[in-house]
């Protein structure tokens, strides 16, 4: 894919931004060492340099396979990923110091493992970019992907709790010390399937039967698929004991449905169904208990985390309270990287990593991180706006929205905004599944943004995927071409 003369690819900007991100990561590592060891070791730059090499390698792959891809995505994600590795390494250092052990090696400890996982995740992302040259080819495997997605979602619920349950939520497959979260990968598969399904069915689903209060509502018989997914997500809620995951899948489906049909009624129906279901689950948890008890517990804990009976109960609000106290201790500016006590927060390497970092980088640092996430989501949505085919639009929009929703669910949970659920914080949390799945997601967005931003061959090249688009109707027409 040679560059069209006179067009901007944004690749040099990407490299520049990447350098900036890596300088921040290196500075973070240096500050951690200064606070932990009272001096900066001569090797403080090694993790940042290794990460830089990895990201530059990905950058080179993009140069050859997706020349016009969005230049902001990789540096922003690289910054978050790098800070995550740095923070995990910081926890390793603190533990080594406490146990009077020597400084852990570059690939040792949780931080080192995260570095290795980053390598694996970037390899996967590169493979995706190399193998899938046109995102529309994915739609050929839509039904397979849909089946795979549902299987991935259901596996932990079907497996015995001893294999799948960690901290009350059944989201894992654990084999020995090794565990994967299949749900992370299911996101990607399900988005592709939903997008394909909705592109084909959007006409039917757009049909309105009745107008109520100025909103067109669909025909009863067209509610089938949305009810199916709703049931599925509530099953997830009950059997995997996880509200966040349920919200994620259902939100993903409703939003792609809304984008595909442009019918607000779907949003309303979806929201009412979801929150109605959640409320019923809460009531059932209070009265019947059984499989609903876990959700009821989480909700009561969320309503009053500082109550002694909630705090002292096993599986109560201890985690949430420690998270809030950590964040509060950090205050506006934080204690400085390496100078706090993040290990007081349970699960600080995974679910609560944002709270652990928040103690040290403060409200200002967390706000910056939040803006980075927002940037990624908005860039993903921009890729959806820019690409010309409906399938691409739905995939990019769905993926970007899900990422944003996941960030909201976990960060809202650990800051007490919504009931806490076990989700990973994308690109930050320790763990290979999350990192790999989310880098695959980014690779997909890169691929789609490349399609959207690439100048039409021969014609005048738009410098970016702006609003200069063909009329919307044509998007639908193009999908006919890609029928399997």
């Amino acid at each position: 894919m040679p560059r069209v003369p006179g067009t901007k690819t944004g690749r040099n900007a990407e490299l520049g931004l990447l350098a900036l991100a890596m300088i921040i990561v290196a500075a973070y590592g240096a500050t951690v060492e200064a606070n932990q060891f009272d001096k900066i070791t001569p090797t403080f730059w090694v993790p940042a340099a290794l990460l830089s090499a990895l990201f530059v390698a990905l950058h080179l792959v993009v140069r050859f396979t997706a020349l016009y891809a969005d230049p902001v995505l990789i540096p922003t994600v690289a910054l978050i990923n790098g800070l995550g590795v740095g923070f995990l390494r910081r926890l390793d250092l603190a533990r080594a110091i406490a146990q009077k052990q020597p400084e852990p090696g570059i690939f040792a400890g949780v931080g080192g493992r995260q570095l290795a996982w980053t390598l694996a995740a970037l390899v996967l992302a590169a493979v995706l970019l190399i193998v899938i040259r046109d995102h529309k080819t994915v739609s050929r495997y839509a039904y397979t992907l849909g089946l795979v997605g549902i299987v991935l979602v259901m596996i932990p619920a079907v497996l015995p709790a001893s294999i799948s349950e960690i901290n009350g939520a059944r989201l894992w497959i654990r084999i020995g010390s090794f565990s994967i979260q299949p749900g992370e990968f299911a996101k990607l598969a399900l988005v592709s399937f939903f997008a394909y399904y909705l592109v084909r069915k959007r006409e039917v689903l757009s049909l309105a039967s009745r107008r109520v209060l100025g909103v067109d509502f669909p025909r009863g018989r067209d509610l089938g698929p949305v009810i199916t997914v709703w049931m599925l997500s509530l099953l997830v809620l009950v059997f995997e004991k996880d509200l966040g995951t349920a919200l994620l899948y259902f939100g993903l489906f409703v939003v792609t449905l809304y984008v595909a049909t442009e019918r607000v009624s779907w949003l309303i129906i979806g929201l009412v169904m979801f929150f109605g279901g959640v409320y019923v689950a809460y009531l059932l948890g209070a009265s019947v208990g059984g499989p609903f008890a876990n959700f009821y517990d989480r909700a009561t804990v969320w309503l009053d985390p500082f109550a002694a009976e909630n705090y002292n109960r096993v599986g109560g609000s201890y985690q949430l309270v420690q998270s809030l106290l950590g964040l509060g201790t950090g205050g506006l500016f934080g204690t400085g990287p390496g100078a706090g006590s993040p290990s007081k927060v349970p699960e600080v390497r995974t679910d609560f990593i944002f709270a652990g970092m928040g103690e040290e980088i403060g409200l200002f640092g967390l706000s910056a991180l939040l803006i980075c996430y927002l940037l990624i989501v908005e860039r993903g949505l921009r890729a959806a706006l820019g690409v010309r085919d409906s399938f691409g639009k739905l995939v990019a929009g769905g993926l970007a929205f899900t990422l944003g929703l996941q960030v909201f669910v976990i960060l809202g949970g650990i800051t007490g905004l919504i009931p806490l659920t076990g989700q990973t914080t994308p690109f930050l949390s320790a763990g290979g599944s999350s990192l790999m799945a989310n880098w695959l997601l980014i690779a997909m967005l890169l691929r789609i943004s490349d399609a959207g931003r690439r100048p039409a061959s021969g014609g005048p090249a738009p410098s970016s995927g702006g609003p200069k688009q063909p009329p919307a109707q044509l998007h639908g027409a193009m999908t006919e071409v890609i029928k399997p």
């Binding site: 406490a98 009077k100 939003v255 809304y258 984008v259 595909a260 442009e262 500082f306 705090y311 309270v321 420690q322 809030l324 106290l325 964040l327 509060g328 201790t329 950090g330 205050g331 506006l332 006590s341 007081k344 928040g358 403060g362 409200l363 967390l366 706000s367 939040l370 996430y373 927002l374 989501v377 908005e378 949505l381 959806a384 706006l385 409906s390 639009k393 739905l394 929009g397 970007a400 929205f401 944003g404 929703l405 960030v407 909201f408 960060l411 809202g412 800051t415 007490g416 905004l417 609003p467 688009q469 919307a472 998007h475």
Partner: protein, 500 residues
């Protein structure tokens, strides 16, 4: 499709806006509250950065600190374990403090206003200020003897308590509660272990965490006769006044007759007051109480400290261990008239009369101090971190229930109890000892409680110590004689003799 995509973008923007607003709430508005929250372990790290003050008695450390490698720098230690636990209490990492550790927490931690100057000077010198030290009034010899004798009692009693007071000052010389507990596992930095230990102790049916000396009340039995005697002396009786006695007495309106402890106890129709107390004549005191009337008996009890609900023993200026109120109980019929049968029972310390071991010791101390009841205290001195005295206990008279003349009569009569009567086992060579035994029925089929309250004068005629020993459910009868024996040994040790 672009319009809904943009709207989806707006939704994300709103969600992130909520996150941002909530972060401002948590990290801005609530930050100070969270930073100092009790659940915040970081507060503890700071608290444990400086050594907490020492709690000591007679130059021995009862609570001290050990430097550790933990995140919490100093570990609180209790070298004497069970012996002092009911007094000193403990300072756990996560749970609430107990005992003197709680009452003097501000001073021990260094946060007290009394240590303000020390904190300022530490700021300039750069030394770590640390907390102030607490010197207890406890005589370690008396405490150790009391602990040893109580736990090694000759009757195999499992539960009981003892208190010894300096009658002239109110300084507590010994306070033992049995069974006790080792505070060290509760103060460990491993909060899970500490919580498990607390749970275990709390579930123990013998209640080792309960300070039986101050927090539990029991029927006082015949020790209560001292108060009825005082009431009689205040109402025109003297030691030689003849009072009706006899082997049996049935109060008006009651079917169950009151008996004496043995057939040889006051079978005569009349005995004098001194003999009645010396022999612990139940029929005599039951009739005496009925004769005096409920109001006078009640008032006497109140004069001696019964019904006081806000007494604490610690520093005379601040808080301390709460002492449960001793009670007379109701002696009224439903129609408002005096329940004479109940009054007869109450006059020998039964029915609903309840007393703490501390109250028992205070009664004996008041007699020994010429009728003046001194407020009991545990904190003798507060020392700054560099051991400069900041507070010295200044003895306070709590109340004066009887004149010194009546107190002298009571003293003579109580000495007669130990020399000629039921309290012979409390005798100590070289000291004039007086006292009163008590054997209290408590529950259907249960062994009686054994009591002794008493005092000792040295050869210079100074009251050196007053004591109360209480043994729960003493098997084998004569419940009070073991209490009297232990009391004698505690009095001796408190007077500076005996012990190791």
């Amino acid at each position: 499709m672009n319009a809904p995509l943009r709207k989806a973008g707006v939704v994300i923007l709103v969600l992130f806006g909520l996150l941002f607003a909530n972060l401002n709430w948590v990290q801005g508005y609530k930050a100070d509250e969270y930073r100092t929250n009790d659940y915040n372990g970081r507060v503890q790290v700071a608290e444990y950065e400086v050594p907490r003050g020492i709690i000591e008695a007679d130059g021995q450390a009862l609570a001290s600190n050990k430097l550790t490698d933990d995140e919490l720098k100093y570990l609180r230690q209790y070298p004497k374990k069970q012996i002092y636990a009911p007094i000193v209490g403990y300072k756990p990492v996560n749970l609430g403090e107990v005992g003197i550790e709680r009452a003097e927490d501000e001073f021990l931690s260094g946060a007290s206003d009394k240590l303000f100057a020390d904190r300022v000077s530490a700021m300039f010198t750069g030394d770590e200020a640390g907390g102030g030290n607490v010197v207890l009034s406890v005589r370690t010899k008396a405490q150790e003897v009391a602990w040893k004798q109580l736990t090694g009692n000759e009757r195999g009693v499992k539960k009981g308590s003892a208190v010894a007071i300096n009658p002239r000052t109110g300084a507590i010389q010994a306070m033992v509660s049995m069974p006790s507990y080792d505070p060290n596992p509760l103060a460990t930095h491993d909060t899970e272990d500490a919580a498990a230990e607390y749970k275990k102790l709390n579930a123990d049916k013998d209640k080792p965490l309960l300070n039986r000396a101050v927090a539990e009340t029991y029927p006082p039995g015949s020790t209560f006769k001292v108060i009825v005697t005082a009431a009689a002396l205040q109402n025109g009786y003297d030691q030689s006044t003849q009072i009706p006695a006899g082997p049996l007495y049935t109060a008006p309106g009651s079917g169950a007759p009151i008996k004496n402890s043995s057939a040889g106890t006051c079978p005569e129709r009349q005995v004098n007051l001194k003999e009645a107390l010396t022999e612990s004549c139940n029929t005599g005191y039951a009739q005496l109480g009925v004769k005096l009337g409920g109001d006078k008996v009640k008032k006497a009890a109140q004069d001696w400290g019964f019904e006081q609900e806000d007494l604490t023993v610690g520093s005379l200026e601040g808080t301390g261990l709460a002492v449960a109120a001793s009670r007379m109980g109701k002696i009224q019929n439903p129609d408002g008239s005096t329940d004479l049968a109940g009054l007869a029972q109450s006059s020998i310390g039964q029915k609903d009369v309840r007393m703490t071991t501390m109250q028992g010791a205070m009664i004996a101390a008041t007699v020994a101090n010429g009728g003046k009841q001194m407020r009991p205290y545990l904190v003798q001195q507060l020392l700054s971190p560099d051991r400069r005295p900041i507070y010295n206990a200044n003895p306070q008279t709590l109340r004066t229930p009887v004149s010194s003349d009546i107190a002298d009569d009571l003293r003579e009569m109580m000495v007669s109890v130990v020399e000629n009567g039921t309290g012979k086992r409390a005798q100590v060579d070289g000291f004039e000892v007086g006292g009163k035994t008590g054997t209290a029925e408590n529950a259907e089929g249960a062994d009686d409680h054994g009591w002794f309250i008493g005092f000792a004068y040295n050869d210079k005629g100074e009251a050196v110590s007053a004591v109360c020993v209480m043994l729960e459910n003493v098997p084998g009868g004569h419940a009070s004689s073991e209490a009297a024996r232990i009391s004698g040994l505690i009095l001796k040790a408190a007077a500076g003799q005996g012990g190791d």
